[in-house]
Structures are given as C-alpha cells and as structure tokens.
Symmetry: D3
Subunit: 157 residues, 6 copies
C-alpha cells in the first residue's frame, strides 16, 4: 500500500509507483481523506487524476481512506506500507512515523524506495506554488494533471 495526499500526483509519485508495481503482486495507492489540510483538489478529483494516470498499471488499485494508515493497511490485508524518500528532513519524519506504525501494527512493515534523482526537488506543495504563479509545471506532473492544475487555478476558487 502506498498512502499519500496526492494533491496532486507528481511525476515523482508516478516514478515510485512504476518502480513499486514491478516489485509487488498488488499495489494499493491510497488517498488520505484529510479535509483539515485544505487540499487544492477534492478527494474525488484526486481519484480521477490517479485513475487517468495509473490505468497502464494493471496491478495498481486506487482507494481512499480516513484515520490511521496502519489501520487501513490492516483492514485491506496489506503487509507493506511503501514510502518514498528524498531529503534528510523527509527521512526523519518518515522514520518517526514508521516506528510509530510498527508499534501500532508490528506485522506491517514500512519499506522505503528512493525517488529518481530527477524528481528529488518535486513536491505537490512546490508544484502548486509554481503553478499558482503562472510557472510552467509540465515535466513535473503528468500531462493530465497539468491541464487540471491550469483549469483549477484559473477558476473562481
């Protein structure tokens, strides 16, 4: 299971999903429903973008969840939580979360994959900031997301 906000999915996420889908039998890409974070895209919009981008991967399923990540992983019978790592600051937070998750559900393992170096500086947050100021984000997010971002940020919201 690969949990995240995917608000929106970036080419860094996509690279990780492509790598991971070759290593595991079945991969659940799980969108966290967290309205407190004031996402740019609704869960439904994020889901539609993931569907558009991930349909070439037959063993990848898209889902949404609320609450604790390990709780949902256990519910779905996932034995691995997949996380991407980039910078050192990411990594510390990820380790802390992984240790907590191990304490809550010792039978679920957190496994880290490395984002490609070409994606090391891409985050959903930075992509949104660049797009908001009219910067070109093609190459940073999948083409379908690129259009949606333009449309979203030109709109009344």
């Amino acid at each position: 299971m690969y949990p995240g906000s995917f608000d929106p999915i970036t080419n860094g996420h996509l690279d990780l999903i492509a790598r991971a889908s070759r290593l595991v039998d079945r991969l659940i890409v799980a969108i966290l429903r967290n309205e407190a974070k004031a996402p740019l895209f609704s869960v439904e919009e994020r889901m539609r973008m993931l569907e558009a981008v991930l349909h070439p991967y037959p063993n990848v399923e898209i889902a949404t969840f609320e609450g604790l990540t390990v709780g949902y992983a256990a519910e779905r019978g996932a034995n691995v939580i997949l996380r991407g790592i980039r910078a050192v600051s990411d990594y510390e937070y990820e380790l802390q979360m992984a240790l907590m998750n191990r304490r809550l559900r010792p039978e679920i393992e957190t496994v880290f994959l490395m984002a490609g170096e070409a994606y090391s500086y891409i985050s959903s947050r930075l992509v949104k900031e660049v797009a908001r100021h009219g910067g070109d984000v093609s190459g940073l997010v999948p083409e379908q997301v690129c259009e949606r971002l333009r449309w979203k940020l030109a709109g009344p919201a």
Copy 2:
C-alpha cells in the same frame, strides 16, 4: 528547569524527568502558557496530569509560565535549562534556541539529555494524532494521561 508544552506529557518526557531528577538538586517542570498554539488540554489540565504522574519525584516542582523561557528561569533562579534531544531536526532548532537564550542570559546554561531509544519516536503531537484516530497509545503516555486522552477525544470538543 525543564520547560515545555506537555500537551500531554509522554513517556519520553517522563523518562527525561526521571533521569534529570537524579542529576540535579531541584527540578522545575515548567508548562508554557501559549494559547496561540491551540492546545488540546488547558494549562490546568496539563498541570493536574503532571502532578498525578510526577508525585513520586520529591525534588520535582511543577510550574507554569508565560513569555521568554530564560526570563522565567532567571526569575526562579534556575541556572540550567534542560532539553531533550531526539532527531536531527529537533536538534537544529534546539541549538538555535539555546544560542539565542545564551545571548539573552549568558549565566543560564542549556543542557541536553538524550531520550531513551524506546521513546525516540514519541511526541505529544504524534500521540494526539494516534489517539484521535482511535489508535492505542498505552505505553506511549503514562496511564493517567491515557484515560484523559480517551475522555477528552470522546467529548464534544
């Protein structure tokens, strides 16, 4: 003096207080009154929890303060500010604060103790997040806090 938010006290804090109380003659555990941070527990609730947990330590006193940490330390005649360190990101912020505090009050020394490795992933923030989603936090916080957390999060707020 060991300043903090203690919202709520965790087993990591408790481990540190137990270690420190053996090293110094007298230890003031000082709760920062900082309403801007929207705490889960009121200062009074945090104080009652600290009292319940810390009464086995005769040389530990509980207090609350507002404003600058070094200001309150000077007021109380404390010559050491105690801080726990865990991860690298903590550590950088702690060093920056300690250098600033040294500049403001050169006569007060900041001293760092290391949290036990079993507590390295426990923070008040993470504990609250787990409890909020119905995860089990026994073993992460003292028993008395455990009950209060359950009661608080089940309540109307």
Copy 3:
C-alpha cells in the same frame, strides 16, 4: 538579486548584503510581497527600514516583487539569485528551491553565501518572538529596526 521577506531585516541579512555587495557589480535586495504569511511589518515599512539600513551601500538597490522569484530575476536581468545558508534544515529547503528555480530558468544561477557564525542563530521569526516577550534584540537587528520593533509591538496591533 537577494530575495527575501525581510520582516524585519536582521544583522544576519545585513552581514550577507555587505559581503555580497563587494562581490557583484549591482545587488537588488528584493522584498517578496506575500500577504498570505501575515507579516508583522507592511511591505512599505520593510522597504523604509531597508532604505535606512542599506544607504551606505551604493551598488545595492531595493525592490519589491510578487510571484516567482526567478520570474522577477529574469524580468530585472539578474543572472544570480543569492541565498544565505545557516542550518542543515535551511539548506535542504534551499537546495530544493534552487533545483526548481534552475528548472524554470536554467540561465539563472543560485549562489549560496555563508552567514557569519555570530549570526547563525538569528532569524526574523526568532527576533520577533524575543521582542514580543520583551527580550532585548539590540545586536540582533540594526538599531533602526530595534526602535521600530519596540514601537510596533507596543502599539494596538
């Protein structure tokens, strides 16, 4: 070009500007207009403080901008974006921004200068926090800023 919030300018910023002004022909100190960050000082106040402090540097110009830093740099014909580095956490964010900026405008180079060790713990945020609680910030910010801070924080806002 040296972009930043300068809310307010600190002695760390000033040290960097002094160093940089000796290395380049012309330096634009560019204040980012970002109302979303709820600054303490208005852009106009920040500009007046920069003018008061920077008039001894004949090759330093003060400006304000909105939107992407590299966009404004390109508009002004700047070929270098200057950034100061202090702690490791700064540095990671700075590298990520610099890689993104390079992608958006490959012809503009980000160059890092090191703040003096005496300024390693000074940030605008920490200075405001100390001043807000009545701590003495002389020596951390230029004298003119010191007065403004006192006046601002004593006022109705």
Copy 4:
C-alpha cells in the same frame, strides 16, 4: 539480496533479515570479500557465524562476492538490493550508493528497511570496539557471535 561485511553479524542485521525474509520469496545474504578493510573475522569465519545464526530461516541463502554489488545481484538474478537505515549519515551514503547502483543497473531496485529502534546504535564497528575493551556485548550480537568475539580477541592476533 542483502549485501554487507557482517564482520560480525549483529542483532541489528539479524532483525532486518528476519523482517525481510517474511517479505520476499528468497533472500541472499551476501558477504562482501574486501580484504582492504582489514576485517576482524575472515570471510570463512563470517560465513560460519551467519550459517549458525540464520539456519532457522529456510528462504535465506548465504553467499560471498567480490566487486560491484549490482554486478553480483545481476549475476544471481536478484531484482532487489536490501539496505537497512539508521542514522542520517548512513542514509546519505546509502542514497548516493543507491543512485549509483541504479545508474549501473536500472533494473535492480534498492529497497530500505528500518532497523528496530532498539538496534539503532549497534554497528559492527562499535561492537568490536566495546568487545576489544572487555565490555559486555551480549544482547548486541547473537550468542554464537558473542563467544567467537571473546575467543578471537583473547587470541594472539
């Protein structure tokens, strides 16, 4: 494939092998033959210790190799290189190696697992240093290794 020096195997390595053996069909624990590093135990001794410790894991095979890790992984048909991560400094070196390995053999993925927090401070190097000065290393290395260490360090070499 889990490559390493294993000079000697510690309880941290063992924890990782136990976790990993549940995630993969088959795990090769591969000892790097690197005489330049002046190991304490010969490759043959390290192999015998690994055999003694790992025989409860039916899907774990022990091997030795020389040269590039990815070269040996490719030769053995392994599609994953497993690495444990602990501290930040480890992590940076590991990421650099993983990016290099990806460049040399893009079809082999490096996957990171987290050592248990109880093992975060155990390294082969530190264990040897403690043992060399007569410190007690039981609990840090498997029992069989404990005896061998004592015997080795009491010997003429």
Copy 5:
C-alpha cells in the same frame, strides 16, 4: 578559485566549472598537491586531464598548489573560493572549512554553487571504486578521463 583534488575530474566538477565560468571574469581551477592522500593519478596526470577537458573555457586557468587553500587564493589575488555542495554531510564539512578560511583570510569569501541533480551522486572516490571493479563510468566522467581510468586500472599498479 575552485580548489580540489580532481583525482580525477568528474562530470559533476565539469558542470560546476561551466556554470561558474559564466559568473566570474576569471576562474582558477587549483589542484591540491597532497601526496598523503595516495591519489590514483599524479598531479601531472590530473593537470593533463583538466587541460584536455577545460580548453573550451577561455577564462579558466589550471594551477597546482600546496598548503592552505586561502593562502594560495591570497597569493593569486582571488577574492572568491568556489565550492560545490551536494549532500548534507558534505555541507557541514564545507561550512566548517569556510568559517575557518574566513577567520584566516576575512577578505576572501567562500561561495557555494549547487551541482546539477544529475550529478548529485558522483564523487571521484565512487567513480574510482566503480571503475576498479570493471563498472562502466562513461557519463560519470568526461570521455578523456574514462579512457585514462581504464588504462590506469589495467596497468601494473
């Protein structure tokens, strides 16, 4: 001045020199004569490789030096020492060196440029290690260096 061992020059160094040569009037690439480090290539060989690779850059000069970097910089009238930064561990050592150099020669500024993300994992040490084990290093070092490495490592030494 850009000081280093250049044993051998990598594409990461070359990327940095290309970027820096556009920012400054004149750039001295200075090879440190440090026999204590047991280099693979002699200073003369390193110099010939640098000459072969750097002749397209008319404002770049190649030199060798012994002793303190800032001492040589002062001797040559350089007012800037250029350093590339990649990982966090690099960065700490570089900051420490830069602070020491500032203390020894306050008039010389250390300026950091960021290596391209495609070069973030390339170091002379890693390149030599890969080449030594027969790995392909084309794309990691300039073509001329590639040949020399192959020839050197096939030789009697």
Copy 6:
C-alpha cells in the same frame, strides 16, 4: 567527567570546561590513551598543556585512561559523562555512543553542552592542519598550546 583526546586542547574545549565547571561540583577532564590514532602530542605533553591551561579552575582534575569511557567513569564514581556538540554529524555519532554507553552502564548519564558559536568550526584536527601549513592558530587554541604547536611542527618529527 569530560573525556576526549585533547590533541591538543582548543578554545572550544576550554569554553566547555569553563561552563561545565560552574555546573558541577567536580569535573574530571580525562585524556584517552589511544596510540592507534597516531596523536601529534604524547599523552604526557597533552597532560602538561591541560595543566597549564586549567589551573585557574580549582574543581577541575586532569586524568588519563585507557579502554571504555564508561568503565573509567564508573571506576572514578562519575555519574555524568559530558560531551560538547557542534555540527549535525558530530551529534549523530555522539548519540550512538551515548546510547551504547547507557546500555553498558545505565547509571551513568551522558549530558550534552553546546559549544559557543564562536568555536563551532574549531576542532583539534583542523587546528593541526592549519598549523602544519603555517597558518595562524592564535585565538583558536590557548596561548600555551599555540607555542607548543609551533615548536612541535618545526621540530624533526
């Protein structure tokens, strides 16, 4: 107890000893006898330099030891091991050592003090490197050490 190599003592060490001597009743500055590290100064020379520099501190005692630090601390009845922290890389190694020491002797606490920011870049290693190349190290080490360094490096060894 403050253990170290002190090869030689720097102003950073001295600053730490001065701070610590005000916090504790009695401080043992303990020189590690470690011939494997090929020190510049013999243990006897280091001891004489420490004596010359530390005689103004009546509650500071100088000693030498071999073997495990916690072993010697226990032997001397010290209940605290004092360590200085500067950079992040230091810090990680120090934490690892401190956790190991806690495991070996749970009754001895490792306590970290922060070096003054003016000393953040001074290490014995760097001081020796600068002195070796004829750089001026006054202000980095106590005056008495300065002379010894000059004499030592001018000598036949």
